[in-house]
Symmetry: C2
Subunit: 346 residues, 2 copies
């Protein structure tokens, strides 16, 4: 960014910045009664709805690296991950608040880029930006998003609702976001060593998009309505399938049996994993950030799901005493292990 | 803190930390249907209630200085300031989410201290901790709190409801928190220069408490109920009375007239301001962080308020064309100026 296009955040001040943000806000939901501009926002859902609330914090250098994530993508993804949590309750996202602390190494134009991504996500998922906070930091960028949505009591999907013999179902395909990240990290390394080498990103478009612009599966919630399916339990896959399935099992006091040959893996994910000497199955089981849904349903719903292109049945739940197992393609059995990403340990 | 009492956050891991936090959580409100432990929290208010949501971000080195704010106080205050925003809508706070990013210079014991303050605030204001996020940061501590509350449609107090000739009323007294901060900053400086000098904190107990442990005025919301008062507009005083009153005026398209001799200033604030060669009126008008309420009411409520110990009528609203004025003790008129604290500029 050339210096003549750089506006210091301090020139604009807090209220100037709020005005800038407010300008791009569009209110789409009747339930958003009061947005930005008062001590608090005000919403009201239908009388028989329950209110679902989720929040996440994203820290520069821990959750994202601005060396290869553009600010607009970052803003989009920060909103998306929270919306995904609302969807994982089988609820419909309606509102978000978006807060950030940002150091003065960023100009106003960077904040605009970030909010362009927020606005795009709001448009895509039909949610309203109703509040937030913007402040300086001594270093780096920290983002905090709270998403709010509504769901009917009898349809909300908690983690502890799995019954033995329920089917284990996933949406979309798995491991792509993880493989996309491997490609980006490799290219970053190559660039650091020899900046003139052209990046090798051929045949990576799908997995790069899975990493840079994953989508929360709001379409699945609508499909459940159409098919009259109510999952007995559900989570979104942010830390990897193994890890999420174990959460479901522990909360519901059940075991699980997963079949390796059922795992949905895109051809590009498969090929690039092999190129990188990685096991595609491990990528699918433990690679995070796909933001697909994993859920449990009653066996009675089998016919609605078995040939549906959005869904893949990858196993079934069993008695708690049977534990967590993976049946490999050769028929051998292995204990399932969670190796999801832990933001505290790293 | 001695090293043998230090537990590294990385030893505990993310889920260990969540378990630690969950242990201290008490659910007090029927409206909290699902708290920590699922993809999202679930709440449900009475059918005729609206849901009020506010969020704030607090950054080490910008909003707080751990050199003189203990972590427990910080946790308490972070919750309190958000609850104050809910109260400023004339709504009752019910739930909070609390997120933090924290560097590895802090041990688990520091996180426990912080949450001890959060728990205390939850107890004091009868709210439930229903969610949040805990992650590492590369440096420093950042906190993000979202508060959620409920209010009746006909009682919610927005900024834009002031009518000309409404009374301008404040609760409690003003300028104390600002004077408390001056004392703390002076002592920090003295300590830096000569660590063995005993701090001079005699006769400062009230203003230090105003700075370190200010209270949101939930009692006022209850008093409004008892007195059957509905403010036409309200804000909490976080940036200073002048600044907040101007927000009310701008949103409501009215002017205001404030009387210097009516401003409620505690004797200790007054005396320490004079000792420090500061004008007590300026401290009361522009000192922030008292978290008192400033509101507008109809003239018809005058009798309910005039001798009430919780309230002080400090002026009245006028036509927009008359502007914002302060009538000094000597009868002279001065334009009112906002010099509130701006977290972006500093």
């Amino acid at each position: 960014m050339s210096d003549q296009n750089r506006t210091e955040i301090s020139e604009l001040g807090e209220f100037g910045l709020i005005d800038l943000i407010k300008k791009s806000v569009v209110i789409r939901n009747e339930s958003s009664l009061k947005g930005i501009g008062d001590d608090a926002a005000v919403i009201k859902y239908e009388a028989d709805s329950e209110t679902v609330i989720s929040t996440d914090m994203l820290v520069e250098g821990v959750h994202f690296d601005l060396a290869y994530v553009p600010l607009k993508h970052l803003g989009y993804k920060a909103v998306m991950v929270n919306i995904s949590d609302i969807i994982a309750m089988n609820a419909v996202p309606r509102q978000i608040t978006f807060s950030l602390s940002i150091s003065n190494r960023f100009p106003v134009e960077a904040v605009e880029e970030l909010y362009a991504g927020v606005s795009l996500a709001c448009e895509m998922y039909n949610v309203d930006l109703i509040g937030g906070d913007t402040t300086t930091s001594l270093s780096g960028l920290t983002i905090s998003v709270t998403a709010i949505g509504e769901g009917k009591k009898e349809k909300l999907a908690y983690r502890d609702g799995v019954k033995e013999s329920n089917l284990l179902v996933v949406t979309g395909d798995l491991g792509g976001a993880y493989m996309g990240l491997q490609i980006l990290e490799r290219e970053k390394q190559i660039y650091a060593e020899s900046p003139k080498v052209q990046p090798e990103l051929e045949d990576c478009d799908y997995i790069l998009e899975r990493q840079l612009k994953p989508e929360a599966r709001l379409d699945i919630i609508r499909e459940f309505e159409t098919l009259e399916i109510v999952p007995t339990a559900m989570m979104d896959i942010s830390d990897g399938l193994s890890s999420e399935v174990m959460h479901l099992c522990k909360a519901s006091k059940v075991g699980v049996s997963i079949y390796e040959d059922k795992l949905p893996i895109d051809q590009q994910t498969f090929d690039r994993a092999r190129d990188n000497h990685l096991d595609p199955t491990t990528c699918a089981l433990n690679g995070g950030e796909d933001y697909e849904l994993v859920f449990a349903v009653d066996l009675a719903d089998y016919d609605k799901i078995k040939h549906h292109p959005m869904f893949t049945i990858v196993g079934h739940f069993v008695e708690e005493s049977e534990g967590y197992s993976l049946t490999a393609k050769d028929g051998s059995n292995h204990p399932l292990e969670a190796q999801g990403w832990n933001p505290i340990k790293e």
